[in-house]
Symmetry: C2
Subunit: 162 residues, 2 copies
């Protein structure tokens, strides 16, 4: 399920174009790649079914929705046992403030990216949803000054390892 998939140059070209603009039409893709629109549809359908393309996500601006402050929370969960971390993960994922959650190596077990209205809202979140929980041993809060999207996962010209 997580194994590499065979991708030919047409697939790679299509993926690069869709990473630049996920709303490209099959007609546009076809014109750029040099195949028929129906072939593009076929390729994209296959890429979706094979799991290379996971889906389309709408990107919203949190600041425009009254969530102008973002932070990363480094969380230690103790004891770090399955029966505790399962519910912890699900609870954090369900918080409306949560944007992403990582299970990490290193001194902090989890990293949570959150979007909140202001520092008071952040304080409430940390106190009520994290430090007040018995399984949470420690929370370190780091504000996000700025964030950047990076280039496409498949940069132009890079081959894919088989």
């Amino acid at each position: 399920m997580a194994d590499s998939v065979a991708l030919d140059p047409v697939d790679l070209h299509i993926l690069r174009l869709l990473q630049n603009d996920a709303r490209s039409t099959y007609r546009e893709l076809a014109a750029e790649v040099g195949v028929a629109p129906s072939t593009c549809l076929d390729r994209v359908t296959r890429l979706r079914r094979s799991g290379v393309i996971l889906g389309d996500q709408l990107r919203l601006d949190p600041a425009k929705l009254g969530r102008g402050l973002q932070a990363l929370l480094l969380v230690q969960v103790r004891p770090h046992r399955r029966e505790l971390i399962g519910p912890f993960v699900e609870r954090v994922r369900a918080l409306p403030e949560s944007r992403a959650l990582f299970h990490l190596t290193g001194p902090d077990d989890y990293l949570v990216q959150v979007a909140v209205a202001d520092t008071a809202d952040l304080q409430r979140l940390v106190l009520d949803e994290f430090t007040s929980r018995r399984e949470v041993a420690r929370v370190e809060t780091r504000l996000i000054f700025q964030q950047w999207d990076c280039g496409p996962l498949l940069p132009p010209g890079e081959p894919v390892r088989p």
Copy 2:
């Protein structure tokens, strides 16, 4: 530009639906929300122009593209001055391995999420692109065991702060 935007219940309903499925048609949105498809188009166009909707992103599975290992790099840049960090940020953004970049408060100035093939690839990346740079004072590498998407930024029923 980062100020909150006035959103009425129709806008919120549309945003919630599009967060669940960014590929919903205006016809589908219209049926759910209770307005005409052309009105939905109008609303969504407006939401895009006002910056609430930033765009659509294609989500790819890094593992299927030969990048089965992800990590977070906590980076100290010294001295932390504008003439150094501008180029640093642009260089990191341009790396094909980079997925996201944050400027943070706290002891580490930057956090970089990277996707690589394996630990050897990660070692090469850290040594060649980070620790070998003069402006990089320290890099702490943490592997990502697992990551989760979180719920929508706009959960059902939540009002938006004005």
